[in-house]
């Protein structure tokens, strides 16, 4: 295949994986703290519509992303209030949040449905962008793509190299022990939930402001749910989440390229469209088929409410 084709496939793969990485990183940290927030799709939608509204009113991309993060964060905190303070069921509350968020975003977005924004130009990295094939694919991307890499690095460092990361994981594994040694479990969980919300908002903002610069009802199109599944199939390990997200984006883009290249595969297009899901799940299941590692990485108190003794 010609170099520019490979480069543009790679570039498209990275772009389509980026929102998944952002949202999944937030969810991973939330779940590591022992809280299962299934509301990603709703928080993404709210983030997307808010960011779009701000961008449309001339706020600029930075302000737009921040607004999207803040809006989704507020939703996440509402979820936190229900589940952490009021001890409501996390699964039910998360599902409610997802449905509510998608509906509310559609309602808020009515006035600017299908009003496109100008595309935001990619930011080339000097020197690196000239590397053959990889240069144009990796280093001539939206600023948000580089930011997503920085966030992955930060999450990795935080979870596995910092003291507070250790504490957060302890809260997810054994909240009562963490509480016994004097950590404020509920506060930490609120922080993790808020981070998850902000990241979902960022993922949503990426979709509506950078990826496809427009707002339309339902444009998140299930990416929140895919991100949730990625976290589980990646057995709560950040790098596997990244692998899964790019794999998903990559297979989706590849099947578009295969179709567009006129390669006649003896396979219905509908089945081709399901390949990203099948391939991602298959690969992630294969690399984590050791039951021991799954047990090791799944936060032990995931989804269980915790009430500190007075």
């Amino acid at each position: 295949m010609e170099n520019h084709l490979i480069a543009s496939m790679l570039a498209a793969t990275i772009v389509s994986g980026t929102p998944l990485i952002l949202v999944a990183m937030g969810e991973l940290v939330t779940e590591k703290a022992g809280v299962l927030n299934l509301g990603a799709e709703g928080m993404m939608s709210i983030g997307a519509v808010t960011a779009f509204a701000v961008a449309l009113s001339g706020g600029g991309p930075v302000l737009a992303v921040l607004a999207g993060m803040a809006a989704a964060c507020v939703m996440a905190l509402a979820f936190g209030f229900l589940t952490l303070t009021m001890m409501a069921n996390q699964v039910a509350s998360g599902l409610a949040l997802a449905l509510f968020g998608v509906g509310l975003a559609a309602f808020i977005g009515k006035p600017f449905e299908s009003t496109p924004l100008p595309m935001i130009a990619p930011v080339p990295v000097p020197l690196l962008e000239h590397i053959p094939v990889l240069g144009p694919a990796l280093f001539n991307q939206q600023a948000m793509v580089y930011l997503s890499w920085a966030i992955v690095a930060a999450v990795l460092y935080f979870l596995y190299r910092s003291r507070w990361g250790l504490v957060l994981r302890a809260v997810g594994e054994s909240p009562s022990s963490a509480h016994a040694v004097g950590y404020r479990v509920i506060t930490l969980r609120y922080a993790a939930v808020a981070f998850g919300g902000a990241m979902a908002g960022m993922g949503g903002a990426f979709i509506s402001v950078f990826y496809t610069p427009l707002w339309a009802e339902g444009m998140v199109a299930g990416r929140g749910w895919i991100a949730l599944a990625l976290v589980v199939f990646a057995t709560w390990r950040p790098l596997r989440v990244v692998l899964g997200a790019y794999l998903f984006g990559g297979v989706m883009i590849a099947q578009l390229f295969v179709q567009g290249s006129g390669v006649q595969l003896d396979m219905p297009a509908q089945l081709m469209s399901s390949l990203p899901y099948i391939a991602t799940i298959a690969v992630l299941v294969l690399i984590s088929r050791n039951a021991h590692t799954i047990r090791l990485h799944s936060p032990a108190s995931l989804g269980q409410p915790f009430r500190p003794d007075a």
């Binding site: 520019h4 498209a12 449905e113 009003t115 496809t212 427009l214 199109a221 567009g260 006649q264």
Partner: protein, 379 residues
């Protein structure tokens, strides 16, 4: 959508009767009343006829439902005093639709438009129990004494878009982002390709199925993929504005569908097939009011004004404009049929012999791609 999941039509017998929903009826009624907007409550003395519209999608700013809503608004203004109108949007096909249609009847709607293929069965079912109410189902095919069906020959506009593409694609290579391989979509794809090849016999159409009516992210990724693969003109039958905006950004011409898309691509959107229902709806209402309405399956195209072409972009050169106008006139006046033979399919097999045209029944069952389309055939 007009063409939603033909395979998905559930037969009446299989649809669960929803008792809990009946219990919740007062709440649901209140909700649907809240979701609906009523207009034109011009209290004329001679009791205006209540005309109601059921939409499967949110109205939005372009697309299928938007075009029906444009017609409803036009009627509410032009026929104020004779009719009052009401609509409910974003109603799922299936039991939900049946409930809303029934509700329309109870509220005294005398004429009910249900423009979606998936509303066909619920419409027929309610119509049986409300013989005095007249129903009009868009894109379905079943009729009854009080149920009419209607649809448009969208492919006529697609052929014209192909003619334009044949003139304006320098490489003779267009990209097509498509939703699902159902007959209506295949008609559009094939007509576009035949139109393009009527101008440039070597023209090719690269095709990508996104398997979604609506996923702006994926539609955009597909458009970008096609551009990377070298197409220099884009079109689509999905529902978002993603392909048109992608073309506008890259400076690549596009031809659009459903609505006039020029405001999403002021520099590059050449034209669009615009679905215009106002004339047909006005005539239907007049027929009902005059007592001369009869149940029929009406299919109209350019001639009947059920579709029209959006004004051509200023960038289209004068000689192409003339050829486009000539082809439009030929189709409108019946001299040119987009599916006139000889037509070969992708494998080179002759599907329509020279001197013949595809009939309505064959069009309804279209399941092949014509020669010149570079893409996967339907399975």
């Amino acid at each position: 959508m007009p063409y939603d999941s033909r395979k998905d039509v559930r037969k009446d017998g299989r649809r669960p009767r929803c008792l809990p929903a009946m219990a919740a009826l007062p709440v649901l009624l209140a909700m649907s009343a809240g979701a609906a907007a009523t207009t034109a409550t011009n209290a004329a003395p001679a009791a205006p006829m209540k005309t109601c519209f059921l939409y499967s999608n949110p109205i939005g700013e372009s697309g299928w439902t938007y075009q029906h809503e444009q017609a409803r608004k036009a009627i509410a203004t032009s026929m104020a005093g004779k009719v009052t109108t009401k609509y409910v949007e974003n109603v799922a096909e299936g039991p939900d639709a049946e409930r809303v249609i029934r509700n329309f009847v109870q509220e005294g709607c005398k004429l009910i438009f249900t423009p979606s293929f998936g509303f066909m069965e619920p419409t027929i079912k309610v119509a049986r129990q409300a013989p005095k109410v007249i129903f009009m189902n868009g894109t379905g095919y079943r009729t009854a004494p009080n149920v009419g069906a209607y649809n448009a020959r969208y492919y006529e506009g697609r052929y014209l878009e192909g003619v334009l593409a044949g003139h304006l694609s320098k490489k003779g290579l267009a990209g097509y982002v498509s939703a699902f391989p159902i007959p209506e979509v295949l008609q559009g794809l094939n007509a576009f390709t035949l139109g393009m090849r009527s101008v440039n016999p070597n023209a090719q159409v690269k095709l990508i199925w996104v398997n979604a009516w609506y996923d702006p992210g994926k539609e955009r990724a597909a458009a970008n993929t096609l551009l990377t693969l070298g197409v220099d003109l884009l079109t689509y039958d999905t529902s978002s504005v993603a392909v048109v905006t992608a073309g506008e950004e890259k400076g690549v011409p596009t031809v659009g569908y459903y609505s006039d898309m020029s405001r999403f691509g002021p520099k590059t959107n050449l034209t669009s097939v615009v679905q215009t229902w106002t004339g047909f709806y006005t005539k239907t209402i007049e027929d009902v009011l005059a007592g001369r309405w009869k149940a029929a399956h009406t299919v109209g195209g350019l001639r009947e004004g059920m579709i029209k072409m959006a004004p051509l972009n200023a960038s289209v050169p004068a000689d192409v404009r003339e050829k486009f106008a000539a082809a439009e006139k030929d189709i409108t006046e019946g001299r040119l049929h987009p599916f006139a033979g000889p037509i070969l399919d992708q494998s080179g097999k002759q599907r329509v012999a020279a001197g013949q045209v595809l009939g309505a029944a064959e069009l309804d069952k279209m399941n092949f791609l014509v020669n010149g389309i570079d893409g996967t055939p339907p399975k």
